[in-house]
């Protein structure tokens, strides 16, 4: 009986020092895949190695031995003793492994739930594994289910909806005020690191122009070059307030840089167009009363932190929904994997044929009208033996493959040929297409 096994460690079970030792970089990833595929009893494998986790995923008929060999390999590769390694690792098999892999690729197991990078990393790992022909029927299907599931969870739950970083929360707010940021102008007052990060995010959202004011002009010029902006002097700030839409302040000044009176005056000239202040400075650079002016929005660092915390909380709630979707998919996949064995396949093949000949016989009999019992029996026997003879060779063929490495491939092929999994009929065509499509998405 084939089994999926996942041996790994993540940010919860192992400290970064240990994860670093096990990390497979581009060069030794190939070596690792080859080594794992060389282990007796391992049929397919994928190695996922990111800065937060290492997952060795494989299928085997001989769970215990394969596990031991993989752990030996990891211990040798990292130079960490087996016991120490084992205490920081988890070993999941069967439907637990399936669930774990689904959760990882849907970003439910990530440090920040819902972060989008992990799916790309899984795709990358899969592509590397395919280069070494390491995955086959079972893992191919598993990975494709992962892609499908991750997409489903992303669209049906809100786990990756709201911003969970301060810069991104600020951008999200700006988009809810201005809609499209295209052509909007921003002004940076103070050139701190956080302000720079927020400005970069804004620029990535097609912000029009950026002005940079700083106490030391050289730093302003330097940052302006970096962000393709325009350096201005501190004296120009009030004049520029007339023409900008977003202001990011991050100075060390103890007095507010932006006062209520200043902004009130400017608003007439702006014809009440909205103005958004992002105040990252501590103490605050923008007088909190400015927020009371119509069409002006002021967010300081604590406000932004508050939003981020709330969003993280929301994501946790959404993750609970996602877990239910995962449960469903785990059940489906476990059922499919059970059918991927000689006996169940033969049984469903026989069942299918029996249904066919019984239906055909029924039609024939209803056309013939009332027939004596023994004649009906003759016809039944004939139909039965024709099916049996036809199925004889395919069944023998499957039995011969019982202990071969290619067993799963043939099983899958037979199941598709006779469409024994009605749910998944025609899936393979769709799957390869969607993979191709995703491939192009990635390069964007």
């Amino acid at each position: 009986m084939i089994k999926i096994v996942d041996i790994g460690m993540n940010h919860n079970t192992a400290p970064v020092e240990l994860r670093e030792l096990l990390n497979f970089s581009d060069d030794n990833l190939a070596v690792a895949i080859e080594a794992i595929m060389g282990i007796r009893g391992i049929k397919e494998s994928i190695v996922l190695s990111t800065c937060n986790r290492i997952e060795i995923i494989f299928t085997t008929d001989n769970e215990k031995d394969a596990q031991e060999s993989v752990i030996d390999f990891l211990s040798k590769h990292s130079g960490v003793q087996r016991d120490k390694l084992l205490s920081a690792m988890y070993i999941k098999t069967g439907s637990e492994a399936i669930r774990h892999i689904f959760r990882v690729s849907s970003s439910l197991d990530s440090m920040i739930v819902g972060e989008p990078q992990i799916l790309g990393q899984v795709k990358e790992a899969y592509r590397d594994a395919v280069k070494h022909r390491a995955p086959s029927v079972v893992l191919n299907r598993l990975v494709h289910r992962c892609f499908y599931l991750a997409k489903k969870i992303r669209t049906e739950t809100g786990i990756s909806e709201s911003a969970v970083s301060i810069s991104f929360a600020a951008v999200e707010l700006a988009r809810k005020i201005f809609g499209d940021l295209h052509g909007k102008r921003a002004m940076l007052i103070g050139a701190g690191e956080m302000a720079e990060l927020a400005a970069t995010y804004l620029l990535n959202n097609s912000l029009g122009e950026i002005l940079i004011a700083n106490r030391t002009l050289s730093r302003a010029v330097e940052l302006a070059e970096h962000l393709h902006g325009k350096p201005i002097s501190l004296e120009e700030i009030n004049d520029q307030l007339l023409g900008v839409d977003i202001v990011i302040t991050s100075t060390a000044s103890t007095d507010p840089v932006i006062t209520y009176e200043n902004v009130k005056k400017v608003m007439k000239g702006r014809k009440n167009r909205s103005l958004f202040f992002i105040d990252i400075g501590v103490p605050r650079n923008v007088d909190p009363n400015v927020n009371k002016i119509e069409n002006i929005f002021v967010y300081d660092i604590d406000d932004l932190k508050g939003i981020v915390e709330q969003n993280i909380e929301n994501r946790r709630g959404e993750a609970a929904k996602a877990e239910r979707i995962v449960d469903e998919e785990v059940l489906k996949f476990s059922q499919w994997i059970k059918t991927l064995d000689i006996v169940p396949t033969i049984v469903s093949l026989q069942d299918k044929c029996e249904i066919i000949w019984r239906n055909e016989l029924k039609k024939t009999l209803s056309n013939l009208g009332d027939q004596p019992h023994d004649k009906v029996e003759y016809l039944e026997n004939m139909a039965r033996s024709i099916t049996k003879k036809i199925l004889n060779d395919p069944i023998l063929f499957l039995k011969r493959k019982q202990d071969r490495k290619s067993r799963d491939t043939y099983l899958d092929f037979v199941r598709q040929l006779f469409s024994l999994d009605p749910d998944n009929g025609g899936e393979s065509g769709r799957r390869s297409k969607s993979l191709h499509h995703r491939g192009t998405e990635d390069t964007e």
């Binding site: 049906e156 809100g158 909806e161 709201s162 707010l173 988009r175 809810k176 005020i177 201005f178 809609g179 499209d180 702006r270 014809k271 009440n272 167009r273 909205s274 927020n291 119509e294 069409n295 929005f297 967010y299 406000d303 508050g306 939003i307 709330q310």
Partner: protein, 279 residues
Amino acid sequence: MDIILFKLTLFLYITATAGFLLFIIKQNKWLGLWSQRVLFGGFLIHSLYLVLCYYKLGAIPALDIKASLSFYAWAIIAAYIIFHIKFKITVLGSFIVPFTAFLMIISSTIPISAVKVVPMFKGFWFPVHVVTAFLGDAIFAVACMAGIMYLIQERQIKSKRPGPFFARLPSLNILDSLNYHAITYGFFLLTIGMITGSILAQGSHGSYWLWDPKEVWSLITWLCYAALLHQRMAVGWRGRRSAIMSIGCFLVLIFTFVGVNFLMEGYHSFESIRGQKLP
């Protein structure tokens, strides 16, 4: 036949209302799409119903309060569909469609009354007057809803604790722009409605202006919207103030539309249309 069409319309609008309310809660694109389709189906059947009524009556079916409400509901959905093509704000439906379903429910509870169709109703200017005035009023309903949505979203952002509406409603800029466009188009249509109305009055009563309460209140409504447009264009009112004022103007409009007909005597009131008590 027409009663079946009316009931079917009512049913579809109520279904679409449920769909749109679920859509704003669940934020499922599929729900939004299907609510839209149901609404559009309802709109087509409603149009068919109105055409049928027109042929039966020989005049535009907006002569009594029952027919007026239904016609107004139709005009609002038409305005919603037009604005959806330009702005693509599906969530607007979650605000507009319940309102129209409400109008239709009220319309359905009012018994059918016989109206006498005088030759004036069959002339050229009467349908133009009714259609422009109703469509203008309908577009003002869209402006009012955009104003409400603006105020909700503005509160969400100002409070610094964005709640469930934050993600669901579009940006302030888009809502403000929707509000502005709606007021401009609505004002244009209302103006035409009033001009054609005075042409009608000249034809039937011999005078362009009769100081009928409906006329007076229409003028007041028109002035309110004119003031709003002026403030927007010349003084630079936008955002919150414009949103509040478009809601206020709409309340005046509702009074002109319904209140005047019930509370005041005049040749526009439905009683006088029914009894033909013309001055």
